[in-house]
């Protein structure tokens, strides 16, 4: 269940091939790529800088994959998250989940993204026509992450 934080871009075909290597029990590969848009919160965005907390980031991503594995029957999973400067249309994050069946792969992929959005220490700073600004956390992301708690405990 690898996680990687890197400045370099990634290739989804190569990443999936590496995960699937020599395995013939995989029936479902779900994936998600987060991409930089040229527009956010009502402004054009020309550049993005992604900061993170080295050490905690890897631990948080590992914990998210562990949690996903405890909830669904996964054969393997991957998170690649880029840091540094990015331009519109650049790939930012990749999540891939492998399972025997599609239900587990798709649900786990959505779960990992929801948790990553609220628990992994990354911060985005955008360059807009009126200057730089830190991106505000979306309330929608907290709501998305919270739905996975439904049915837990009280």
């Amino acid at each position: 269940m690898p996680v990687r934080v890197q400045a370099d871009d990634f290739d989804i075909t190569a990443e999936i091939a590496a995960l699937r290597s020599k395995r013939t029990n995989v029936g479902a590969v779900a994936s998600f790529i987060g991409v930089m848009r040229d527009f956010n919160d009502g402004s054009g965005v020309s550049e993005l800088t992604l900061e993170h907390y080295p050490g905690m980031t890897e631990k948080a991503l590992d914990q998210i994959l562990d949690e996903a594995r405890s909830r669904w029957s996964l054969i393997d999973a991957l998170i690649v998250h880029r840091v540094g400067r990015m331009l519109p249309a650049d790939q930012i994050v990749l999540v891939v989940t492998l399972s025997a069946h599609r239900e587990a792969a798709l649900a786990a992929c959505g779960f990992v993204m929801d948790y990553l959005k609220t628990r992994a220490p990354f911060w985005k700073k955008e360059r807009t026509p009126v200057g730089e600004r830190w991106v505000d956390a979306r309330t929608a992301d907290d709501t998305a992450a919270e739905r996975w708690h439904a049915g837990e405990g009280a």
């Binding site: 905690m56 930012i92 959005k117 992994a120 220490p121 911060w123 830190w134 956390a137």
Partner: protein, 86 residues
Amino acid sequence: MATVDLLYFARLREAFGIERERLALPGAVATTGDLRRFLAGRGETWARELDPTRVIRIAVNHDLAEADRPLADGDEVALFPPVTGG
């Protein structure tokens, strides 16, 4: 005396003009919540950014922590805004 390493990220790092510092904890600072209130007492920028109405996350040794989390000598304590990756 307990000493902790403090790290600041994103908007807090820029606002405080500091990335990390080593802090000898005053006797009254036992938890992450105490620490936040102590740092808010440093003056205008600190008071504004750490005001109780502002949502701030605190991690201790790379794990997100609640405000009642006790601090120990050698802890790495990070303060940062809600995360916005992905």
